[in-house]
Amino acid sequence: MQPEGGKINTLHLGFLITGFTFGSSVILSPGVEAGHNAWLTVFAGLVMGLIMAYIYFTVAEKFPGKNFIEINDLLLGAYLGKIVSLLYLCYFLHLGSLILRDFGDFFTLTIYVNTPEVVIVGSFALLAASAVRNGIEVITRCSLIIVPLTMFAFILDTILILPQAKYEKLLPILELPLKDFLRISFSSFSFPFGEVVCFLMITAFLNSTKGLKKHVLSGLTVAGFFLITASIRNTTVLGAAVKMGLYPTFDAIQLIDIADFLTRLELVIISVMLTTGFIKLSVLYYGTVIGLAQVFKLRSYLPLVLPIGIILVVLCITQFENTQENLAWAANIYPWYVLPFQVLFPFLYLILALLKGNHSGRKKAGERS
């Protein structure tokens, strides 16, 4: 039994995943620490992401029509399953608040210098709350409009900046100690590719799991391809200065100058791209709310939307005193913090699902209670 009756198909899920992965990584370029080798670390992150996504969705395919909470209960037992479920829900909620914080910081740093962050973050959360109340179908439909629009903006700005790009700035390739390369690659896996684990909350709403992996993995690849392009673009335009900016994409787009006429496009283009942040936030928010409703066996998830939204905003504002804390946390702690959620538990599930899968295969005729 699901607390919501929405149905989506796997193609739409692919779109949703593209939008989700694009999310805030479009302004906070992953792997930027690696300088001119950033695109390689994003590529490595994408490969890891594809492998892990394959695992996540193999588990999901074993239990069609069941969401993550039910899968946890089945695999780990009622008590342990509930505990792990709650941990995951905390992670989703926290991740949502981090996304909010990234956007809040971005706006207060660039244009709304005097506006209190809570106003920006609050209105963003309110919008997401309305999407969440309307259910998964609405969020998915939004992504069908937003994702192509974002792609268009992205391609447009990449073409417009081409005259400033110098490709020799990418050389020499692979100039990074292996240890650093792996560390940065893992960090660009954990943000954003590994966060796709949240979609385990959504797979229950699929009308059929046919072509699930195909669409999900291609959605992830498309987003990864765009992020690699972004990374290459930023390096070829900004050169050695790419490392220092908080928002390399913003810095690069700022330099667009076509015949003194098409200039200063950064805000137009960035605003379009930020809409994918709304998708990411909505999915995480929705996952949290649905999961909670499931754990506590509520008939509807709607009463939870507003309280969780308030927690999101409060957590977002209070978790970091300043930008510096956010940066230090994202760089040093985040990859370790997500390790169990994105890697360890999914591996455990895969093993358990393969072991128990034989059982459910035999019992295929009758639905599980």
Binding site: L109, T110, I111, Y112, V113, N114, T115, P116, V119, E168, L171, P172, E175, L238, G239, A240, A241, K243, M244, D251, Q254, L255, D257, T263, R264
Partner: protein
């Protein structure tokens, strides 16, 4: 149904009033737009002095419309320990806060540049307002004097300087650099930044500005100047010569002027027997633009000798720039980055740390391939025998 309609109406009305503004609104009539920023050392050398030209929109004459009443610009200055402090102190003189987002030009006084521009540079990248597309310049006198100038040609100094820099391409004698490019070079361990040099001079009661060469930096400190020949030499190496005139001798006192149409360059590093060598390959194409001597130059022999003379002239320009740069020990050409790309391991182990030792000793080979394409509208010289 009716209540729903009214609800939507109220909803829209609420939006009408709340979505129209925010904390950070800056209306056009309350902006003091900066169009030229000058940075100097203050009276007390610990302080910086910032001079800013502000546009007064009501005094700008519009074509066909009523012309303005007084000067279209207004200059304010202030001092502070840092650029940001000085920028805010400007508001002690102006009624509105200065808005830097549309500023096209940042001028550093020579004295400031010799001492290092780092104390003021961070502000222009960290603050979200100033754009990194602004041009960097060094002025031979105090930057304050440049900003203060009232010229006949263009009432707004910043726009005047901006146009001057954009017209550099027709001669390609001076190298120019934006704040972003300057930053990129500052971040590189070996490459040195450069920017255009400007000066104001008085001529027959009117004051005009002149780009006098290229200022060469080492890290953030200005260490020397390139004249026009060396400036073009630098641009040849960077492959940024887009147009210009090369004059080569024809006979006795007469000359031939050749127009540059396009050029390309390649920097190829190599290492033989522990010596670093750079090969600069320049490909140039141009037209015969003018001749003073009465000979017919459009014969095959004369044409190819002209091409050779041109190639030699280009070689000399590049050589002048390379010699000067090695003398000053500033890698304005990006040779270090070229070695970095080709020999990443060696670069990391030795070259990067000791680039100042290696750079002046680099052997430079210059290969120029100069082509003459068109003769102009005539094939016989327009000079009597």
């Amino acid at each position: 149904m009716h209540t729903r309609k009214y609800l939507i109406l109220i909803y829209l009305l609420v939006f009408l009033f709340t979505a129209s503004g925010c904390w950070d609104r800056r209306e056009l009539n309350e902006l003091a737009l900066a169009t030229c920023v000058g940075i100097d050392l203050g009276e007390d050398p610990q302080h910086l002095q910032m001079t800013v030209e502000i546009v007064l929109p009501e005094n700008i004459s519009t074509p066909g419309g009523a012309s303005g009443q007084g000067k279209p610009t207004f200059t304010v200055k202030s001092q502070g320990l840092t650029a940001f402090e000085a920028a805010r102190k400007l508001t002690l003189n102006t009624e509105e806060r200065i808005y830097f987002a549309h500023n096209p030009v940042v001028v550093f006084g020579e004295e400031m540049a010799l001492n290092g521009i780092a104390p003021a540079f961070d502000f222009f990248i960290r603050d979200p307002e100033p754009r990194r597309t602004a041009w960097m310049l060094v002025s031979e006198q105090r930057a304050e004097e440049i900003v203060n100038i009232d010229t006949m040609l263009e009432p707004i100094t910043g726009i005047y300087i901006n146009k001057l820099i954009e017209e550099i391409v027709s001669n390609s004698l001076i190298a120019s650099m934006s704040v972003q490019d300057f930053l990129e070079r500052l971040m590189s361990p070996t490459s040195s930044p450069y920017c255009s040099l400007i000066r104001a001079k008085k001529e027959n009661d009117s004051i005009i500005m002149e780009l006098t060469g290229t200022a060469i930096f080492k890290k953030d400190k200005m260490v020397g100047k390139f004249d026009y020949t060396e400036g073009r030499g630098l641009l040849w190496v960077l492959g940024e010569v887009k147009s210009g005139i090369i004059v080569v001798p024809c006979e006795n006192d007469s000359n031939v002027a050749l127009e540059i149409i396009r050029s390309q360059s390649k920097i190829i590093p190599s290492i033989t027997d522990n010596t670093l060598k750079i090969t600069i390959k320049v490909k140039e194409e141009g037209n015969l633009g003018e001749q003073q001597c009465p000979y017919e130059l459009t014969t095959p022999q004369a044409w190819s000798s002209l091409e050779k003379k041109k190639a030699e002239a280009i070689r000399q320009e590049i050589l002048a720039a390379v010699r000067k740069a090695q003398e000053l020990n500033t890698d304005v050409f990006g040779f270090g980055e070229a070695f970095h790309r080709k020999y990443p391991k060696l670069w990391k182990e030795q070259l990067k740390q000791n680039w100042d030792v290696f750079f002046p000793e680099i052997e430079v080979e210059i290969l120029v391939e100069a082509k003459l394409r068109r003769t102009g509208m005539i094939s016989k010289p327009g000079i009597p025998d």
